[in-house]
């Protein structure tokens, strides 16, 4: 059997076994089963790096010229992504063993985590667009289930629904895009999609396909679900809503661009994509500066970094985007698990203004969190520095405006991350729980350490493995304008954070009008709430009313009345029991018959 196939089968089997066989009665076995399954898939993914195994495929549906296979495509892109998915997946599983130890639905949690691993693997390995869409939707399902893990909380249930629906809106475009690409290239298989020249509708098709990425990678204007998705258990946020699933949009676009070829991508579509990424990264960074929930800060940071990756895709440099995806996955997973450790130690407190001084009390968490922060803020020689350089370079070459935005975002990133660090990890403890916080158990600390190591080492590891070279284009420090801008941005951000937040007990900027705009996320959620209210409630109610009273009332009611009316007419006049009436009708009938017989 093709070993790549096992990558799909193992998590699927694990999900089925856990959900239908083990269940809550054997929750501990379920947790271990899920973890071991992921360990095995990591082993397979690593072994694939050095093998030249090719994909395989099975027919899923075939009639006429509609032909969809479940097929596996193995190349640098998918092999590299598999290592990220299974590697971080494994660490998140291990971390969850501790974090979800006493959860009353632990088995359901691990079952859904396996379901996620299965679906994500499907996206990565898919060799055609329909298969990718199939797993794309399944990833959406597992995300829905995991965000709604604590479904009895209204906020979690609503967040799960919101995530699914926002993704669906993106999928609306994605699906149309796939259909158009089918028409344009004559194929849904990535390998057979290459175009020699641009065709009409290609620009539209590219943007429509990109709609899928807008939904899944939470770009403006569909970004609203991701911060709410933090209602899910924190390890889920680390794996799904930071490292892997939300990056699937970027992965999909990279796969798509490689397949049709860079040369044919119309400029206007590419520029649009780049600007959506750029604006998302700026808006999200601004919003992150005023969040108080540790997970929300990281969530907006994820939005912002995804914006970077999307921008790289739009600058038709998906290699740079993928490189940032790989490095970001490790250090953002690290930051999220670190926040999970903090939340665990502080008895489910998520407000950074009620933390403080955690660095000393939780040294492993503290140190690894600082490592993650340094990577995210692109301190030279960290992984984030190298990958961000790639994106800045791409912008510098082709789009100066976006370059300045990207540099500003870099400064903002440093600012909000050090704000978080100063308030939560340094200074005085601002709350009982924070004062008595203890380091997390080993089962949670070890994944943090490994992630810390990977955050720092990932560019070099990538460089060392031939099978990943495509996506690690450049490691090194050269003093050019881009590098100087990047370092300057870091210094400015750090300085601002020191001035405003070092040793502060409350937010000095909280009353600033502009800052309140950021804190309230530019009121986008509120605007959507009004739109939804208008469409789902008002318009739907009006339509329902018209349907009920006019269409139903007139057509059905009318028909019923005609039927009853004629019935009454005949009953009253024809079967009245009066002999004259019968005689008249008899006469009339005879006349009609005679008329017909004689004259027609």
């Amino acid at each position: 059997m093709n070993s790549a196939l096992l990558l799909l089968i193992i998590p699927l089997l694990s999900a089925i076994l856990i959900h239908f066989l083990l269940q809550q009665k054997m929750a501990s076995i379920a947790a271990i089963l899920g973890t071991i399954g992921t360990l095995v898939t990591l082993g397979i993914s690593l072994s694939l790096l050095s093998s030249d195994a090719v994909g395989c495929s099975f027919n899923w549906a075939q009639i006429g010229d509609f032909n969809v296979n479940i097929g596996i495509q193995l190349d640098q892109l998918s092999k590299g992504m598999m290592v990220v998915v299974t590697g971080i997946g494994l660490l998140v599983h291990v971390f969850s063993l501790g974090y979800m130890k006493d959860d009353e639905s632990k088995a359901r949690y691990f079952g859904n985590l396996s379901l996620f691993m299965f679906s994500m693997t499907g996206i990565v390995l898919a060799d055609n667009f329909v298969m990718m869409f199939i797993f794309w939707e399944l990833v959406g399902l597992s995300s829905y289930l995991l965000i709604g893990h604590w479904y009895q909380k209204d906020s979690a249930a609503d967040a799960a629904k919101k995530a699914f629906l926002s993704n669906r809106v993106g999928d609306f475009g994605f699906l149309i895009g796939i259909l158009m690409i089918w028409g344009i290239t004559g194929s849904i298989v990535f390998d057979q999609m290459a175009l020699s020249a641009a065709t009409p509708f290609l620009g539209a098709a590219v943007l429509l396909v990109f709609c899928g990425a807008i939904g899944k990678s939470a770009q403006l204007p569909l970004h609203v679900w991701l911060p709410d998705a933090m209602e899910g258990p924190t390890p889920v946020s680390a794996l799904i809503h930071a490292a892997t699933m939300v990056a699937a949009g970027v992965y999909m676009m990279a796969r798509f661009f490689f397949s049709i070829g860079f040369d044919v991508i119309p400029d206007c579509s590419a520029v649009t994509i780049a600007w959506i990424g750029g604006i998302t990264s700026l808006a999200a960074a601004l919003m992150a500066t005023q969040q108080d929930d540790i997970k929300k800060i990281l969530a907006y940071s994820t939005l912002s970094q995804l914006g970077y990756m999307v921008m790289a895709v739009g600058l038709v440099d998906p290699n740079a985007g993928m490189f940032h995806l790989y490095t970001h996955a490790w250090f953002k997973a690290l930051l999220f698990l670190g926040s999970g450790a903090v939340i665990y130690a502080c008895h489910h407190e998520q407000n950074i203004w009620k933390m403080g001084g955690l660095f000393k009390k939780m040294p492993i968490t503290g140190i690894t969190f600082v490592i993650g922060t340094l990577c995210l803020t692109a301190v030279p020689f960290t992984s984030g520095f190298f990958s961000k350089e790639g994106i800045l370079h791409a912008a510098h070459e082709s789009n100066p405006a976006l370059f300045y935005i990207a540099v500003a975002v870099a400064a903002l990133t440093t600012f909000y991350m050090f704000r978080l660090l100063f308030i939560a990890f340094f200074g005085k403890a601002k709350d009982e729980h924070a004062a008595h916080a203890k380091e997390v158990p080993l089962v949670m600390a070890v994944p943090l350490l490994i992630l810390g190591l990977m955050s720092l080492a990932s560019p070099w590891i990538g460089k060392a493995i031939p099978a990943l070279n495509d996506f690690h284009p450049h490691i090194g420090l050269e003093m050019n304008s881009v590098t100087i801008a990047s370092i300057a941005a870091f210094v400015v951000g750090l300085a601002a954070a020191v001035v405003f937040y070092k040793g502060k007990e409350s937010d000095p900027l909280a009353n600033n009008k502009v800052m309140q705009l950021f804190r309230n996320k530019f009121y986008v959620d509120e605007a959507y709430a009004i739109l939804i209210k208008i469409f789902q409630d008002l318009v739907a109610a009006i339509v329902h009313f018209i349907d009920e009273f006019f269409i139903n009332g007139l057509l059905v009611g009318g028909l019923t009345r005609i039927a009853q009316g004629t019935g009454n007419l005949f009953r009253n006049h024809c079967q009245s029991g009066r002999l004259q009436g019968y005689a008249t009708l008899l006469g009339l009938g005879a006349i009609v018959i005679i008329y017909i017989v004689t004259f027609l």
């Binding site: 259909l179 028409g183 739907a540």
Partner: protein
């Protein structure tokens, strides 16, 4: 003879029920046997054989039965839903004879309609199935005295549709020498009139906008098995007829009205989508959603009309794809809507209400019910892995079949694009319903509810497995259609 047996077994079972033999046992037995025989026949149409008894010389009407790919799929749908329907709902004490005899007779009518290969009996069997449907809604329906009105309204409305349909069939029939399906051919005259009559007539039976308003109230007040059988199986008669007869006798007429059909089906999807979103009761919502989902099947029929060619013996790939997409989605929708009605009935039985704002948090007390309802909600949203997705994606592809970037988007492509917005709408109302019923803090009436027993689970598991099997491997059905 096998096909005749498939019709006679439920009729005999109905007679046995009238003769006061144990109703439930007999019905379940008959439905079980029919399930096995029906699936066997569907898998091996040649083993099923054919039957041909001349009833009338001129016009040639013969009682003829036979199976091909399309009818094999519909037959499978019927026998599966029949067994699930017989296992669903709770029959009021003392009314077993009416309850179970009706289920049997509806099944007999539906099977008869789908295995008939003659226009006359095709029509007659469907009418046979409608009678017990109306009786069940009127006599044993839910929702107080209003049910009688609803039964009347439905009867009159569907009779109206049937009469218009009959008009169209007669207009076509007088131009045909032979009324058997295999010899249907495009008629020489009045194609436009015939096509319009068939679209309205069949359309009314399938709740094509604006002839849809009978459906939601009828399903909400019908007892669970009847809602399952009608929404799941009988309603597909109209779509099957349009595809099988409309396209065969009046292909040019259908083309003439194609744009009208496309507009109407968009109303089914978008307009009814909004109506569905606005529903406050679970049963009304499911009824309205079933109207909405018909739009997708009409879209496949629209694509088939646009593709042109001979439906009796399709040679073009576009027609094959569109027709297969329609049939696959009919099957998927039939199974999923039957499952929804079966489970909604259980929710009402356990909590005493179907008003969504009075429910909440039911997943805690009834996790199995939540799982199964979640599964069918996801099927209805079009989640891959479940049959509806396979149908919908094929419908969308059939809409874009033959399009190339050198030409502008045609009416069918534009309709397809707009129709895809429906996948968002169905997610809105289905997730909202699931959220309000199963998620959130438990409402009092939900906290104390009991979970499904094995007997209650049985029909749901049967239908879920079918949804999964076809969803994971659509070729199971597509191979029947080849």
């Amino acid at each position: 003879m096998l096909l005749l047996a498939l019709i006679l077994i439920p009729i005999l079972a109905a007679l046995a029920v009238f003769a006061k033999l144990p109703a439930r046992t007999i019905t379940l037995g008959a439905a079980g046997i029919n399930l096995i025989l029906g699936l066997y026949a569907a898998l091996c149409p040649t083993c099923a054989g054919t039957m041909d008894v001349l009833v009338l010389e001129n016009p040639a009407i013969s009682f003829s039965l036979g199976l091909d790919g399309m009818s094999a799929v519909m037959l499978s749908l019927t026998v599966i839903v029949t067994l699930a329907a017989a296992l669903s709902g709770s029959c009021p004490d003392g009314r077993e004879r009416l309850w179970y005899a009706s289920i049997n007779l509806i099944a007999a009518g539906a099977i008869g309609a789908f295995v008939s290969t003659n226009l006359f009996f095709f029509y007659a069997f469907h009418e046979l199935a409608l009678i017990p449907t109306f009786l069940m809604i009127g006599i044993l329906g839910r929702g107080g005295h209003e049910r009688v009105n609803i039964a009347w309204k439905t009867t009159i409305y569907l009779a109206f549709g049937s009469i218009i349909l009959l008009g169209g069939l007669i207009l076509a029939g007088i131009q045909l020498e032979d009324l058997s399906f295999s010899s249907l051919q495009p008629v020489a005259e009045h194609q436009n009139a015939i096509a319009l009559l068939l679209i309205i007539g069949f359309g009314t039976l399938v709740s094509l906008f604006p002839f849809h308003s009978w459906a939601a109230p009828a399903y909400a007040s019908a007892p669970a098995p009847v809602a399952m059988l009608h929404a799941g199986v009988l309603k597909k008669f109209g779509l099957y007829g349009l595809l099988r007869i409309g396209l065969a006798v009046a292909p040019d007429g259908m083309k003439h009205w194609l744009n009208l059909l496309l507009v109407l089906l968009l109303f089914n999807i978008l307009w009814m989508g909004l109506v569905t979103i606005n529903q406050k009761r679970l049963d009304n919502m499911l009824g309205a959603s079933s109207v909405m989902h018909m739009g997708y099947i009409f879209l496949a029929i629209g694509a088939a009309i646009a593709a042109g060619g001979n439906i009796v013996d399709p040679t073009t790939q576009s027609l094959t794809l569109a027709a297969s997409a329609a049939v696959l989605l009919m099957f998927a929708h039939g199974i999923s809507i039957a499952l929804s009605f079966s489970l909604a009935d259980r929710i009402e039985a356990k909590t005493g209400t179907l008003e969504m704002n009075k429910l909440g948090g039911l997943a805690k007390a009834a996790p199995k019910l939540a799982f199964l309802f979640g599964l069918v909600a996801m099927a209805s949203i079009g989640l891959p892995g479940l049959a509806n997705f396979a149908g919908e994606i094929m419908v969308f592809f059939s809409g874009f079949e033959g399009w190339s970037p050198e030409q502008a988007l045609g009416p069918v492509q534009i309709t397809t694009i707009i129709a895809i917005w429906g996948v968002v709408i169905s997610a809105v109302y289905m997730l909202r319903a699931f959220r309000n019923t199963f998620h959130g803090p438990a409402a009092d009436r939900c906290a104390s509810a009991s979970d499904l027993t094995f007997a209650e689970k049985a029909p749901a598991i049967l239908l879920s497995l079918v949804l999964l099997a076809v969803g994971l491997c659509p070729n199971l059905l597509l191979n029947l259609l080849k």
